[in-house]
């Protein structure tokens, strides 16, 4: 599959190129070009998988099915639009004197490498390589979180590094245990960690080992997905890094971590024959939603505010996957899509807003709509969309999740509703104050990238009232794979 090779090698080539040329005048455009062609390859790959079914490549080293290719397409798309946003954003940062040439080289190289590792995590057939790719994704972003070298950013990056390092080590232990269970059925050598092999024998895996393995995997990848009580790194990392990185962390990395959890759950369900894995995920999900909703009330930093909003949405999706079944999983997949699109759109708008205001403090950002109507409306609509107001896609996903939960888990549905209402109050009035209100902002030298914001919001809006048949079929197929 040539498009798979392009998909994985292009970001790598980009990273090498930018390691040398990342500070050149046209680097932001080149960054967008690399990401654009990667997205193109992802689309070609998606079309092939949709037409011909799951694909194996390179002696079974790579495996792409409906579930992973949907995330590949989403990751590559958001990677591309974020690179478009990053163009004026980073130029403005250079003008403001916040980044120098070395930082720019690092930034562009790591941006490509980060997208590349996530695509590797999604396309690999080997759950050991999945772990390696997740760890590399952490390592690529940790230096970006502290790109500005402020004390707060260095502290945030250190926390991110240590917490995710420890978390991901748990996931490695889980992977080792899974390998132990698989080796007894499949024999030694390289094949016992291949997803395609594991899935075939999942009902023969030793339940006691798989139980422990799943707990470790859930805790490990759950740390990366920002599940409470392992979410501590997330708001800081979101707040302190450059905003394009915040957008991809929130819109993409969290999804990939959830992807790993969902895959682990399939194996655990197959081996155990009990709803233990799903129950654990629902518990974590519920706790995450509630804690994150209340935390949004206390935030004064706009990027932290939306960081907690991401935590909440990860909780909702984990809950949906934990509940399982066709409808809930469908809701979870739709939620992943619309959350990525909406949240990155919000961060694009927030990025420009904070540059205009020169601060991330919510109380000091006022009257966006007066000085820059497009950014202001982008943020307002994004805020409304992420809170699950109709007719945006998040509403459709949350509605489907809640109605399913009403019949299956009524008490949990009630808790979710309360938490959603709380975060609604926490976010809406703050966004409204930033968008309307007396202006206090300064103009920027490089014009903000408005297009990505509205493309994302447009897509979210579209998904709110019309789900294209191919996408619905795609979700159903993916839901069948992991339900």
């Amino acid at each position: 599959m040539p498009e798979l090779a392009v998909l994985l090698l292009l970001p790598l080539a980009g990273a090498v190129t930018f390691a040398f040329l990342g500070a050149s005048a046209r680097a932001p455009e080149a960054n967008a070009a690399f990401s654009g062609f990667t997205a193109l390859a992802a689309v070609v790959l998606a079309i092939r998988v949709l037409a011909d079914g799951p694909q194996l490549a390179m002696r079974d080293l790579f495996h792409v099915d409906a579930f992973s290719v949907f995330l590949v397409a989403l990751t590559a798309l958001v990677g591309f639009t974020t690179s478009l946003f990053s163009r004026p954003y980073m130029r403005n940062e250079v003008v403001a004197g916040r980044v120098g040439p070395t930082a720019l080289r690092l930034y562009h190289a790591m941006y490509q490498l980060f997208v590349g590792t996530m695509l590797l995590a999604l396309t690999t057939n080997n759950i050991g390589i999945l772990w390696v790719a997740m760890e590399t994704a952490t390592l690529t972003t940790v230096l970006l979180v502290s790109l500005y070298r402020t004390p707060a950013s260095v502290r945030a990056a250190w926390k991110y590094f240590i917490l995710c390092g420890v978390g991901i080590a748990q996931a490695l232990f889980g992977t080792i245990l899974l390998y132990l269970a698989a080796e007894r059925v499949l024999g030694g050598g390289g094949t016992a960690l291949l997803w395609t092999q594991l899935e075939g024998v999942k009902d023969q895996l030793e339940p006691s080992v798989v139980t422990i393995a799943f707990v470790f995997l859930l805790v490990g990848y759950g740390t990366k997905a920002g599940l409470v009580p392992l979410h501590n790194w997330l708001p800081d990392a979101h707040a302190e890094g450059p905003t394009p990185i915040t957008a991809v962390l929130s819109g993409l990395l969290l999804n990939v971590a959830l992807y790993a959890i969902a895959r682990s759950k399939v194996l655990a369900d197959g081996a155990l024959g009990t709803p233990l894995a799903g129950n654990l995920m629902m518990g974590f999900g519920l706790l995450t939603v509630v804690v994150a909703a209340f935390m949004t009330l206390r935030q004064t930093d706009v990027k932290r505010l939306f960081g907690y909003s991401s935590v909440k949405h990860m909780g909702l999706i984990t809950f949906a996957f934990g509940m399982g079944g066709a409808a809930a999983t469908f809701a979870g997949l739709l939620h992943m899509t619309v959350h990525s699109l909406t949240k990155s759109a919000i961060f694009f708008a927030v990025g420009h807003a904070t540059q205009k205001a020169g601060t991330q403090v919510i109380d000091e950002i006022r009257g966006l709509v007066h000085t820059s109507p497009a950014v202001g409306w982008g943020l307002m609509l994004g805020g409304i969309a992420i809170l699950g107001m109709p007719p945006f896609g998040v509403f459709a996903a949350e509605f489907l999740l809640l109605t399913t939960a009403m019949s299956a888990q009524p008490w949990a549905a009630l808790v979710l509703l309360v938490a959603l209402a709380v975060s609604f109050g926490g976010i809406l009035w703050r966004v409204q104050a930033m968008v309307f209100g007396a202006p206090n902002l300064k103009p920027l030298l490089h014009r903000p990238a408005i297009l990505p914001v509205f493309v994302h919001l447009g897509l979210t809006l579209l998904l709110g009232f019309y789900l294209p048949p191919f996408l619905a079929a795609w979700y159903r197929e993916a839901a069948r794979l992991i339900g």
Binding site: G128, V132, I176, R184, G188
Partner: protein, 223 residues
């Protein structure tokens, strides 16, 4: 009891001992030495496994451990400790005797957790799983209780050692491609840590590394 079994038991016992020693050790250079010693033990365990099973890839894996965990990482850390002029990590959240007691509890937990798993493993090293898990938890404990960034990094690497030891003991290591990937990650992580230390020093605008020891701006996070 065969020679291989006895060797494995000896290595495992020494592994546990080094883990406890790390928990108690406050001098950073000695801590790095202990980390290197763990690397030696890991290499030895892998060699025993290679000798028993005759798998060629285990010799490669042992070589990898030797190069990475005995030579490269400790050298990097030693240089870092010297360059940053760090000597001691005296500040700890919990005093040493209490830490040791908590450590003993962790070992018991680890053995209980490992019991059902190692019963399933066909490896001759399976008895070592409890100890491997115990080293992981002890390293984790060390990361939690120490204040200094370097100590936390050493704890992180010790945790990685424990995980490798676990993989070696229950399944004779992971598939080669995964092991290579993990080794690469650990190496990259070490470099990132290195860059980080200098970034911390530069950010807190001083060559005085006391800024590394004390946490810069209140709250619970420690750099």
């Amino acid at each position: 009891m065969s020679l291989a079994n006895q060797l494995v038991d000896l290595i495992a016992a020494l592994m546990l001992l080094t883990s406890f020693a790390m928990l108690a050790q406050r001098r950073l250079t000695a801590l790095v030495d202990l980390l290197a010693l763990q690397g030696v033990l890991l290499t030895a365990a892998t060699l025993v496994a290679a000798w028993v099973t005759g798998h060629a890839h285990l010799y490669l894996s042992a070589l990898l451990s030797l190069v990475l965990k005995v030579v490269v990482l400790p050298t990097l850390l030693r240089r870092l400790v010297r360059r940053l002029d760090l000597q001691w990590d005296r500040e700890a959240l919990v005093n040493t005797p209490t830490t040791m007691l908590v450590g003993i509890v962790l070992v018991i937990v680890a053995f209980n957790l490992a019991l059902p798993i190692s019963a399933l493993s066909g490896s001759i090293l399976r008895g070592a799983l409890g100890i491997a898990l115990a080293s992981v938890l002890l390293a984790f404990l060390m990361m939690i209780t120490r204040r200094k960034a370097v100590s936390q990094v050493i704890g992180f690497l010790a945790m990685e050692n424990g995980l490798f030891f676990a993989a070696t003991s229950v399944t004779y290591g992971m598939p080669m491609i995964v092991e290579l990937g993990i080794a690469l990650d650990v190496l990259v992580a070490a470099f990132v840590f290195g860059i980080f230390f200098f970034r911390i020093r530069e950010t807190f605008d001083s060559l005085d590394t006391r800024h590394l020891e004390t946490h810069p701006a209140g709250e619970g996070e420690d750099v």
